[in-house]
Structures are given as C-alpha cells and as structure tokens.
C-alpha cells in the first residue's frame, strides 16, 4: 500500500543569524513514511527538530534538501495541492483575538475553499466538536487558554483534511483540556483522519500512537511501534526491592542465583534498595518473593518499572526526555 506521507532525506539549514558562517542545521536528513489512517507521533525534546519538520511538511518553510510527498503531491513542487489535503494545528494560538471564535473559523474556512451553506454547516459541526457552540460569538481574547487551544484545533479541522498535523497541542493547558484534546485526537482518527502528532510528553505519544518516531538534535534516532522500539533497544523491566539494611548483601547473593533475574545491583543512593533487571518483570516477581520468603527476608516495599518510551530515549541518548 502506498503511504499517505513519504519524507525523503529531509534537511533544513536556517540562515545564519548574524549573516556570517553556517546557520543551524535543524533537520539532518530524516526519512520516514506514514500510512493512511494511523496516528504517528514525533517524540523528542524541545529543539529536536519536530516543529521544523512539520513546518516544512505544511509548506511554511522550504527544505534545504529532500522532499515530502503527501497524497502523491510534492510539497516543493505543488504546495497548494498538498495544503488542500492537510490541516495544521500549530503550537501557537494562531487566531485573531479581536474576532469571535466563529468569525475566525469562517475566515480560515473560506481560505480553505469552503463557502456559503457548507461553510456555515461545517463551522457548526466544528464548534460542536470543540464544545464551544454556546460561546461562538465571543471574542477570542475573552477565552481561557484551553478554550483558545480548542478553537486553534478547530481551525485545522474545518475542511475535513485527510491528514492533520498537530504540533504540541497540549502545551500550557490544564489537565482537563489536555484530556479533552487527546480524546479529540482519538475521535478524529476514528473518523478516518490520519494524524501526525508531535510532542515531548512521552505519555501522550504512548497513549495515542500507532507508531512513533523519536527525534533528537535534528535526527530520527528511532522509528517503529512502541513495543518494537523497546525490544530493539533491549531495555529490561526493573524490580526495585526495599529491605532491612542487614539483609541487603545476603539478598543480593540469593537473587543473583535466580535464572529469571539477569542482574542485581544495590541502589547507589539508598543502601536499603536493590535493583533487579529482568526480561519479564511481572513473571519474575513471584520467584523473587518466594526466594526471599524462604530465606526469612521480608521486603518492606516492591516496585516494578516496565520500560517505556522514556527508557528508550534514555537508552539511546543518555538523557531524559525533558532534559
């Protein structure tokens, strides 16, 4: 099946700020594809190149090298055709604060080719979807941050795009609005829209994504389904045990002998904690408890930490995602 989005060797070097030397190479030759109907997340810390990538894909800036093909159209050769297929939800609240929510929607709707009764109907639907129909006539500058975010999303959905770009849509919103935005993304995907979602929140990528691309310093350092990424990087489950200090050494020796445990280390900061690594932490846990019980060593606390995208990023870069 032909992918909806194909990115080939995409590079972007910005012009130098003071006019001298080479500008910042924000995207360093990334290639990936996105299938129709999937939610694809670009995960990475601030400054990783996610927004630059989306800006190129949406025709805002030109690539230095490479190309993006969306629905068979090249963004460098036929940007208008690409823009008809996409809806963009930028990270910033890109609305006219002096105008009402409905007037903003109508303005951008007209520019997306809607008009007349179709535009009015679509505005009604979008206002209903973002839950602001009763406040549609109020000026944007009277809205809360969460409400503005919802209108910002609404503008990107007006013309029922095949593909929606959502660039960090939950930045700076309260938990309730965040939940509502994530549910909206899922609902849009269920309606058949393909979603490209960028975030630096690992939990959001985990919850939403069919596939994830992890970016760092302008490079795509990992790509695939969440489970595949974890397996690729070989990150194991961690079992953390808290024991009386006098039992730590004996417990370490005892647990190292268990076949389900690959490594046992004492916590460098807390001498009463042991870190156990296992390929399958949940299955190994009963063996661990039984062995300790037989040796009359009762743990005071047990915690299982399964690998996630944060662990993958940490494994690949040596840094936490929010560093």
């Amino acid at each position: 099946m032909t992918p909806l989005v194909e990115i080939h060797g995409l590079k972007k070097r910005y012009a130098p700020k003071n006019g001298a030397g080479e500008g910042n190479l924000a995207v360093k030759g990334i290639s990936l594809s996105i299938q129709k109907g999937e939610i694809f997340s670009l995960l990475g810390p601030n400054g990783a190149g996610k927004t630059t990538t989306i800006s190129i894909m949406s025709g805002l800036i030109a690539p230095t090298e490479g190309d993006v093909i969306i629905g068979g159209h090249s963004i460098t050769k036929n940007a208008v055709a690409v823009k008809k297929l996409i809806g963009v939800v930028p990270q910033e609240i890109a609305l006219y604060p002096e105008l009402s929510a409905r007037t903003n929607l109508e303005f951008f709707g007209r520019l997306q080719g809607l008009g007349g009764a179709a535009l009015a109907k679509r505005c009604d639907e979008v206002l209903e979807f973002i839950g602001l129909r009763d406040r549609q006539r109020e000026r944007i500058d009277t809205f809360s941050g969460g409400m503005k975010r919802r209108v910002n999303i609404g503008v990107g959905l007006l013309h029922k795009p095949t593909l929606v770009f959502m660039d960090e849509p939950t930045v700076g919103v309260d938990p309730q609005s965040r939940r509502s935005i994530l549910d909206a993304v899922k609902a849009l995907n269920q309606q058949g829209m393909t979603v490209l979602y960028t975030t630096h929140y690992m939990e959001e990528a985990e919850e939403l994504s069919d596939r994830v691309g992890i970016m760092d310093h302008g490079e795509l350092i990992a790509l695939g389904k969440q489970i595949e990424l974890i397996q690729q990087t070989g990150v194991k489950d961690a079992i953390i045990l808290k024991l009386p200090s006098e039992h730590i050494e004996a417990a370490q020796t005892l647990l190292r002998a268990l076949p389900v445990i690959s490594n046992v280390e004492v916590d460098s900061d807390h001498s009463d904690k042991l870190h156990l690594l296992s390929d399958r932490g949940r299955q190994a846990l009963p063996h661990v408890i039984r062995a300790l019980d037989e040796a009359n060593m009762i743990p005071t606390a047990i915690q299982i930490s399964e690998p996630n995208l944060e662990s993958v990023f940490l494994h690949l870069t040596g840094r936490a995602l929010r560093d």
Partner: protein, 415 residues
C-alpha cells in the same frame, strides 16, 4: 480573487475591532484638521487695522475717507483693512477696538503700542498743518509706522497711503496750477479742486479682482489647506501601520497560518495591501467629507477621485516599503511614525509650501509625495483646476508609488 478579498476584508474587520484604530483613522485627524484649519484660517482672513492720527482739517479728513475706501475693497471676500481714526475714537467701528484709548492718553503712543503689539498693521500720522502745507505747496511729511518683520504688510500699507496721498495732492496741485494760470480766486480754486477730485473719483483705471471656485464665506478658509494636508499625513501614518500589522501577525502566528492555507503567497500579500489601501481610502474619504461640511469646495470631482486614489495607493506602497525594513514591532512603530511626520511638514501638509525657502521646496519635491498631492489639491480647490492641470502631480505620485513598491517587493519577506 476570492482569497484576496477574504484576506483584505478580514484585515479591515480586525483593525476596526480595535478602538485605538478608529481613533487614529478618524477622530485624531478630524480634530487636527479642524484645529489647524481654524487657526490658520483666522490668521489668513482677519482684516487688519490701520490707525490714523490727523488734525481734523479738510484735506486730512478727505485723506481718511479715501484710505477707508481703499480698505473697504475686498479680496477673496475679505476687506483689505479697517481705517481707525484715533482723532475721533467714538465714531469708529467696533473692529477698531478703541475702548482702551482714553482722552488722557496720547493717541500717538496708543497707535505706536498697537503696532508694536501687532494689534494693527500700521499707524499713519498726518501733520496738523496737512491742508495748509499741501495747499501752500510746502513739503508734507506723513508719519508711517509698520510692524517689524512684516515686509509685505509694510509695502502694502505704504502703497495704499501713497495712492491716497497722490490722489489728494494731485487734485490740489491741479487746482492750484489752473487757478494760477487763470488768475482765479479762492472760489475758482475750490471749483477746480472739486472738479479734479470728482474726476479722480471715477477711477479711470479699475482693477477687478476675481477668485476661482471658492466663494462667499469660505474664501480664504484655512480648511482648504488643513483638510487635504492633515488628511494626507494620516493616510501615510495609517498606511505605514502595515509594517506593524505584519510584525504582529508574525508574532501571533496568524501570518504563518495564512501561509499554510491552500493559496499562493502572493494572494496573502496582495490581500493585506488591498485591505490597508481600502481602510486608508475610507478614512481619507471621511476626512474629505468632513472638509466638505467645513465648506471646502473640492473642484473637479473626477480629478479629486483620481488624486485621492493615487495618493492612497502611493501611501500603501510606502507601507510595504516600511514593512520590508522593519524587523520588530518597535522598529515598525517608530519608522512608521517618523517617515510620515517628516514627509508631512516637508511636503506642505502643516503650512503652505510657498512660505518655506525655495531650497526646501525643491528638496520636498524629491522626498515627499505630499508635496505633489498638496499642490494638486491646491490647484483643484483654489484655482479651479481640472484633471489635465494636475497630470504632472499624478505622474509624480505614480513614480513615488513605483519606487516604494519596487523597494518593498524586493526586500519584503512574508515569512
């Protein structure tokens, strides 16, 4: 075309939603043009006073009468000057404002003080022996004190005084010469003098003064200068706001969102320019409408429409040129204010260009489009000019437009 109009009308809608924009577009310019027009109009049309001190002898009284006749002549519907005879303060008109002249006070000191304080154009002092000296053929000295620093007013007053003096002395000399030739008596002299005076009174040469288009009470009004001048200045200021609009939209990210819409970038730029053009044109039309209410008669309507459209187009192109160089909101605000505030006085928006030095007038023609628009407005308002008469001005405005637009198109980057 649909996208261009959508961008243009939404930009107008966004700007009109702000109270500050309405104030800059309409309120401030209208207040300024009324204030400046009223001030300059009063300065321009006020009838000056000439104070005269005389001894009450017949020829002196005749002198006052003739000078008063000269002063009563009107130019552009305004009397030239009022003659105030300080020798008979109670018989003078209210314009003379002689309430401050007491009997104890010296009329000469009073007249001198009024000239010094610029309350009267000049003081004329006839000698007490004016009639006797004139009839005896003796040299007569008429005292004339004029305002300092007003050479034109001084020349004019001197001219009128000399004209009256020539008329009286001419009649006296003629009567005296004929009486001597005919060996006539005093009655014969009086008869010849009266005949000579009467002949002179018919004014064998008469100057008929006419003014064009402006009639009646609006003649010489300062609004004909202030309305187009201040109007043009605010059109430049409002067009220059285009730079701030682009900067603000970049900061708000609405410009980037527009670029992401399925239309060519040129549609966004043209839409923005067209929106600002329409807004400036609307404000200019309102200001000219207020000018009409104030009594300004604009002359040839076709020429006026072409002039207003072309000047607004030129201002919009200037807005693009400023947007091309302004990199921040503060730069856009300062450059967008500074340039119109230099162009306006330089081009004669605040005062008639004719009163400025010739060198400045020459420089203004190269630096300020207002120079050309003000001259064209003056041609239409004061001289009844037509489209043909202002063609050079329209051509100059087109050249300014082309230069501003070419620079803007070369340097401006939408993203």
């Amino acid at each position: 075309m649909r996208n261009i109009l959508t961008v243009a009308f939404t930009q107008i809608q966004v700007q009109l939603a702000e109270r500050g924009t309405l104030i800059t577009l309409f309120v401030v310019p209208i207040i300024m043009m009324i204030a400046i027009g009223t001030f300059s109009g009063q300065a321009g049309i006020s009838t000056g006073r000439i104070d005269i001190i005389q001894g009450g002898d017949p020829l002196a009284q005749q002198f006052v009468l003739l000078l008063r006749q000269e002063g009563a002549k009107e130019v552009s519907g305004v009397r030239l000057f009022e003659v105030c005879d300080l020798s008979a303060p109670n018989l003078q008109s209210e314009v003379c404002a002689l309430d401050g002249l007491t009997e104890a006070e010296s009329a000469a000191a009073f007249a001198t003080a009024r000239v010094d304080e610029r309350q009267s154009l000049a003081a004329v002092v006839l000698p007490a022996t004016f009639s006797d000296d004139l009839q005896a053929g003796r040299k007569v000295e008429i005292g004339l004190k004029v305002q300092s620093g007003s050479p034109f007013a001084a020349q004019n007053v001197q001219r009128y005084v000399e004209a009256v003096n020539a008329r009286i002395s001419g009649a006296v000399i003629a009567a005296k010469a004929v009486t001597e030739l005919a060996n006539g008596d005093s009655a014969f002299y009086a008869g010849v003098y009266t005949a000579a005076e009467a002949a002179w009174a018919t004014d064998p040469v008469r100057v008929t003064e006419t003014t064009s288009t402006v009639t009646g009470g609006q003649s010489g009004s300062g609004f004909g200068q202030s309305v187009p001048g201040i109007g043009s200045m605010f059109v430049l200021i409002n067009a220059a706001a285009l730079a701030q609009i682009f900067v603000t939209e970049r900061q708000r990210y609405t410009l980037q969102r527009l670029i992401m819409m399925p239309m060519p970038r040129s549609h966004i730029l043209i839409g923005k320019l067209f929106g600002q053009f329409l807004l400036c044109l609307g404000s200019f039309v309102v200001m000219l409408g207020v000018g009409s209410l104030l009594g300004v008669q604009w002359g040839d309507p076709v020429a006026l429409v072409v002039l207003v459209i072309l000047f607004t187009l030129c201002a919009t192109a200037l807005g693009l040129a400023i947007a091309a160089v302004a990199r921040s909101a503060s730069q856009a605000a300062s450059i967008g204010f500074l340039i119109p505030m230099v162009m306006a006085p330089l081009g004669g928006a605040w005062w008639p260009l004719e009163i400025t030095p010739q060198a400045m007038q020459t420089v203004a023609r190269f630096l300020s489009p207002i120079t050309w628009s003000q001259e064209a407005f003056g041609t239409l308002i004061y001289y009844g000019g037509t489209l043909t008469d202002i063609l050079p001005n329209l051509a100059a405005l087109l050249i300014f437009t082309a230069v501003f637009f070419a620079f803007g198109a070369w340097r401006f980057r939408l993203d």
